[in-house]
Amino acid sequence: MPHAILVDLTECVGCGACRDACQQVHHFPQEECTSLDAHNFTTLRKIETADGQEVFARQMCQHCQDPACASACLVGALEKTRDGAVTWDTDKCIGCRYCMVACPFDIPKYEWDTNNPKVRKCTMCYTERHLDADSKTDKEGYVLDRSGKRVSIDGRLVTAEDRDMIVEMTTNSDGKRATACSVACPIGATLYGERSELLAEAHRRIRSNPDSYVQKVYGQTEVGGTSVFYLSSMPFEQLGFSTKLDTEALPLRTWRVLEKLPDVILTAGVALGAVYWITNRREDVRKFEEEVKNQRSQKKS
């Protein structure tokens, strides 16, 4: 079943626990940050409203249902998994950065300062969530997967100690695995669960409390639907969310062209062949007539 994240911004108090957990579980430097980069998969921005209130806008990958980045990637390094996460495979990436251009939310970020850079973004803790608590380790203490290969996350081998930390950070109180940010949120403003259930929950909240929410679940229809939903008490454009997005999935726009290409090529190929055949034939006929003419005039003389 596809999973999703629901962020209720009306509940968020801006403690930053989600961000800290994200940095910790991914071994990123612990730091305050206001914008995403290659080592910050989620941020909190403080926005002061006109009446002096403070609102926090969380930002992270939307994990689109039909992601533009995955469609753009020529080597298929980005992938929409069946459980809803959009993941990336560093080893495939050639560094063209088309995913960064294509993303309607400008999420993928790049390691500009190294010689072997990677495109990186939130993976909905995909690998972390699938790391077994009782997985075996080899002699040197590295965790092995079921096929006996060493597990590596983001190019880093996982030790038993690491594993225990990751498992702890990605397991909910009810024992179910979830993203580190949702586990870390002390007041349940970020929820992780099945997409359909979370969507229903979002609409239930809006219905039962219409005064404290704008009538919109951000992420439900944007670019064909995403796997991260936001609820807010103030209009989303004031929070810096992109609100001009089409409800149609972006990859359809390129696919509509790409799917026609085989037909175009076949037609154009045959047409070019035909033109060649006709003009070539014309040339031959002309040469032949020339010869006949020449022979006649030679006979005359």
Partner: protein, 406 residues
């Protein structure tokens, strides 16, 4: 002779400065990464190297398939002498595009991944495959020149036997990727200015590439004439210019219809930077060429044709950079408050790549049979004075001899 030398020296010196800058940036780029050598950022991931070196570069190299098609498929044999210089430019152009791509890719050593991890849904995958295959096709289309030079007749015979299928393949591949460079941008409707985002982008990219391919051929022909006295006849170039202008008229009709249907006409009087850039495009690509070509003397002179074609090339560059950069500037400004301008290193690399292109083209024209042979002829003295060149010496050898003296 002195002034000729001084001119060459000026451009040689300029080229040397550019190349040194390019070399320095190359070291920084591959030693320390993209961040150190460019002004690219998380907000503006694509810059000059993609916008000019790749998207514009591939377009400027479109003369190869256009002329090969005109001559070998449509059998308009009059243009035969232009095919070789056009294919040379195309081949060179594509090689340089690949060089430019190597600079821009974060992990250039992994470029072969496109061959094994294929994503048929990616426009870029299609572009990569076509560019790769087409570069190989161009190498084959160009090979007769080298084979002739080194008298490898058996191979030559083989290549000539497969010419027509090869050229049809080349045209199909070009149709695919010239248009797909436009399709690349179909996925970012919300980021681009309505002047340049259009569902028609692939078609518009293809048609304008055909026009500029012809334009580049005319420009090169003029430049090689200047440097080497190797050239094509003016009437032939004029006919080529006429075809180019015809294609441009079609292109701008499509452009106008497209803008009209998308209700983008409304912006034309807003005086914004984007509007100005659109006007610049139209001026260079349509108005100036039309005026120059119809001027009585200019339109017939080699120089006039050069300026006509050069203006089209400028307009084409404007268009590609407008699509890849200008149209996104507004989005970057309002969303991130940043604007991208290429760093000195990016400029140095781009200029170096262009310079290398000029140098290789010049060397090829000098040492390979690119432009048509000059007809053998005898030169006699009229006044009966002892002949400067031997009587009945073939003039064929003379241009090279003259060159060596320069």
């Amino acid at each position: 002779m002195k002034s000729f030398l001084s001119r060459i020296t000026f451009w040689k010196a300029t080229a040397a400065v550019f190349l040194l800058g390019g070399l320095a940036t190359t070291i920084v780029r591959f030693g320390w990464g993209l961040g150190a050598s460019t002004n690219l950022s998380d907000m503006t991931p694509w810059g000059l190297w993609i916008g000019f070196d790749v998207v514009t570069g591939v377009g400027l190299a479109a003369g190869g398939f256009t002329l090969a098609g005109i001559v070998h498929i449509f059998h308009i044999k009059r243009f035969h002498p232009i095919v070789r210089p056009a294919i040379l430019t195309a081949f060179l152009g594509y090689c340089l595009v690949i060089v430019g791509l190597m600079f821009d890719l974060g992990r250039p050593w992994a470029i072969w991944h496109a061959l094994i991890y294929q994503n048929p849904h990616s426009v870029l995958f299609e572009v990569a495959m076509c560019v790769m295959t087409y570069t190989a096709v161009l190498a084959l289309e160009f090979s007769p020149v080298v084979l002739e030079r080194f008298h490898l007749h058996k191979l030559l015979k083989f290549v000539k036997a497969i010419t027509v299928p090869l050229i049809i393949l080349g045209i199909l591949l070009s149709m695919l990727h010239q248009s797909s460079l436009g399709s690349l941008y179909l996925i970012v409707p919300q980021k681009m200015h309505p002047y340049w985002y259009s569902p028609m982008l692939p078609v518009l990219f293809f048609v304008s590439a055909v026009a500029v391919g012809l334009g580049m051929t005319i420009v090169e022909s003029y430049l090689s004439a200047r440097a080497f006295q190797k050239t094509l006849e003016t009437p032939l170039l004029r006919d080529l210019t006429r075809i180019m202008i015809g294609v441009l008229l079609v292109y701008f009709t499509m452009r106008a219809i497209d803008l009209f249907h998308r209700n983008a006409f409304g912006f034309l009087l807003d005086g914004s930077f984007e509007t100005m850039m659109l006007y610049l495009e139209v001026a260079f690509m349509l108005i100036i060429p039309l005026l120059l070509f119809n001027l009585r003397e200019w339109g017939r002179s080699r120089q006039g044709l050069f300026f006509t074609a050069f203006s089209v090339v400028l307009g084409f560059i404007t268009n590609r950079l407008n699509v890849t950069m200008t149209s996104l500037e507004g989005y970057y400004k309002t969303n991130f408050g940043v604007s991208y301008f290429p760093g000195i290193g990016e400029l140095a690399v781009t200029i170096s790549i262009v310079t290398v292109g000029f140098v290789i083209f010049a060397l090829a024209v000098k040492y390979l049979p690119i432009f048509p042979h000059h007809e053998e002829e005898t030169v006699l003295r009229f006044d009966g004075a002892p002949a400067r060149t031997n009587e009945s010496a073939s003039m064929h050898a003379t241009p090279a001899a003259e060159l060596r003296r320069h």
